[in-house]
Symmetry: C2
Subunit: 405 residues, 2 copies
């Protein structure tokens, strides 16, 4: 039996009417003879509401209790979906994370998936039922409910698809797919019908919000065919396929714009061995992701060190940086939240030299100054003033001919 | 270690402030050296909200999915309580129904508790932790989450106390305890400091809402000392003790008033063998509890049959009665929801003759006519016009001297 894993996010199951629409579509697909596992997120903003209650109780709520609390969100979704499918006469079975065989590490709120034993889900599908699986959750070795943090239900869906050997994993969202740029910033943005895992991972890391890089990484590792679809139309949007199946195309596949990072700068850092390591050690230990780093040597033999962190971690990063700045005898620590990280991503970069230069040149022509630069094999990122973000996306979209793909 | 089981109902954990107040009290009791298991209901009206969603999906939501849905309510309560206790520095551990060892039958939404294996909860308490247990839920033999229906978390608490061999089970509610009559109907009502299991079961069955008879029944069976306390003050209210420890007192201990029943009447029932059985068979099969039954023979050789059912089951009962009335060639089926069932309960009835007569007489003197009568060894119930319910409670409270206890 050909098994398909479908994942519906929070906005797709935000109310009973939306759940009914999805159930109707699932029923139809099942009639077509496909075996279906459905992975669901919590309804709408219900997870945020639960987190809000927890934060009222404590600044640092007990993570084990937090997971028990958050897991109810997906449990409610799968129960309501089961009722709706049964009302339509569709046989189905629900699976909480642990019932679906998701064993994780014991790091509450950010557990890693260790193993997926899909046998119960598989048996259910093979007996003709739709398997309805709670996303985002698993169980630790000490039998406590865990949640898997970033990437959440997308990651659940892809991992389940890999374990089931499913023919395809369909991620339903409130957009039509992945675009060459954010359509709200750039009217000419085109739907990317096909993309490679590598490009999508870079785009996701660079702030394109459609898929989380963790789910793409698992899909790439296990060769899961991953599709982003619109949950309102059900139509295929963007398919992720191995790089080898991508025909030669444009140099650049997409542009992302990330407004969720902030910049921390430490002035007058003494130019001594080990200083940089000393500065980043406490930040790494606190679990804060540092993205771009830039070091400028000023005339007086001092360095200025700047780096970006997620905005939500800015306050903690500042506190840690101030402590360490005093320790290494550096100067003032300043922060700026008014930045945008613009990234261009494309497999074509490997074979085309001068892509980064072309990017910098196009921005310079429009008077957009670059504060920081970062590169990978198939990505170039620049940090600019947030107020020029939209301009930058439009300029680069035109420069690399993305509207004409 | 002396173990106490405490149960807090929905109104007692309706918001974070109330949860904090309870947590503070638990912390204090633990410092006093008591081992504590806390059984919680879902917050406020959250269960009603979940039921509302389910009823929007279907007139008869799938009961298995319903249990999965409803179980989230108590799961949220225990998670929030655990966060609050940890914030106060109190070590604690949470237990969903299945983790607390509650094995039930597979009758979803009204499962029977089959076995309670309290070893995990016990180990947690003995290691110095407060055990926080989700009420109202268990797990079936086919590993599906179940809820236990009527009596809910009270029943969980008493069954857990019995299994743990706890010294006492404290049921915290939003009232001060059980009164001789509903204080909102009768200003003279007095708090019953002590009562027997038997009396409390009859009072509960007759509609006193403080404890459900199912929990009292389990307490009686396993000799659990049961206390009703006010969740706002924490003070002891009503203690349930074995009958043998009750000293001779008043003939009547309490009066209850139940407005939740409705009367169904079938006219012109042919006076044939087996007709009554034929009428009640489909109603019993539908799981509808019939309480009082009265049969009056009219002059033409016909009987009129009346019986009471819970108001929530009235529509189903009417439908079934109409079908069977046609089958047995009886007359019209009518219903009345404007009734009140007034019951007087007391162990003293056993040794005092004429209690029922005294009740009927007192009501007659005030012009209150009796529509139906039911009796047990320690209870007399009458059905009267709902509009005279408050009068009847006051008259009987005075007649049996309950204000002077």
């Amino acid at each position: 039996m050909n098994i398909i894993v479908q994942k519906y996010g929070g906005t797709s199951v935000a109310d009973l009417e939306k759940i009914r629409a999805i159930a109707g579509r699932i029923a139809k697909r099942r009639e077509d003879g496909e075996g279906i596992a459905v992975v669901l997120s919590a309804m709408g903003d219900s997870t945020d509401q639960l987190v809000g209650m927890a934060n009222e109780i404590s600044k640092a709520p007990d993570p084990c209790a937090m997971d028990l609390l958050l897991a109810t969100g997906e449990q409610i979704s799968i129960a309501l979906m089961a009722m709706t499918l049964k009302e339509l006469g569709v046989p189905c079975e629900t699976f909480m994370g642990f019932e679906a065989g998701f064993s994780t590490s014991g790091d509450h709120c950010k557990a890693r998936i260790r193993r997926v034993d899909p046998s119960a889900v598989k048996a259910s599908i093979e007996s003709g039922k739709v398997a309805i699986v709670a996303g985002f959750q698993g169980i630790s070795e000490s039998n406590e409910i865990t949640t898997i943090g970033r990437g959440g239900s997308d990651t659940t869906a892809v991992a389940l698809a890999a374990a089931l050997g499913a023919g395809r994993c369909e991620i339903y969202t409130d957009v039509d797919g992945v675009f060459t740029a954010d359509p709200s910033l750039c009217k000419d943005a085109k739907l990317l019908e096909k993309s490679s895992y590598e490009e999508m991972m870079e785009l996701a890391d660079a702030g394109a919000k459609v898929l989380h890089s963790r789910s793409v990484e698992i899909a790439a590792k296990y060769g899961v065919v991953l599709e982003v679809r619109s949950s309102s139309t059900g139509r295929p949007g963007t398919s992720l396929i191995p790089e080898s199946e991508i025909s030669e195309g444009s140099v650049i596949s997409g542009i992302s714009c990330n407004l969720d990072e902030a910049k921390v700068s430490i002035r007058k850092v003494p130019d001594k061995v080990g200083v940089t390591a000393a500065i980043f050690k406490p930040i790494a230990r606190a679990g804060i992701d540092v993205d771009l780093i830039i070091q400028t040597v000023s005339e007086e033999g001092f360095t200025e060190l700047s780096f970006t962190v997620p905005k939500e971690d800015l306050r903690r990063a500042m506190t840690l940086a101030e402590v360490v700045a005093r320790e290494v005898d550096a100067g003032k620590v300043t922060a700026s939240g008014d930045i945008a990280k613009i990234s261009i991503v494309g497999l074509g970069m490997r074979s085309h030299a001068g892509v980064a230069h072309r990017m910098f040149d196009a921005l310079a022509r429009e008077g957009i100054s670059i504060q920081m630069i970062g590169t990978s094999e198939i990505k170039v990122s620049v940090v600019i003033d947030m107020r020029r973000a939209e301009d930058a996306v439009k300029i680069l979209h035109r420069e690399f001919g993305l509207a004409d793909r």
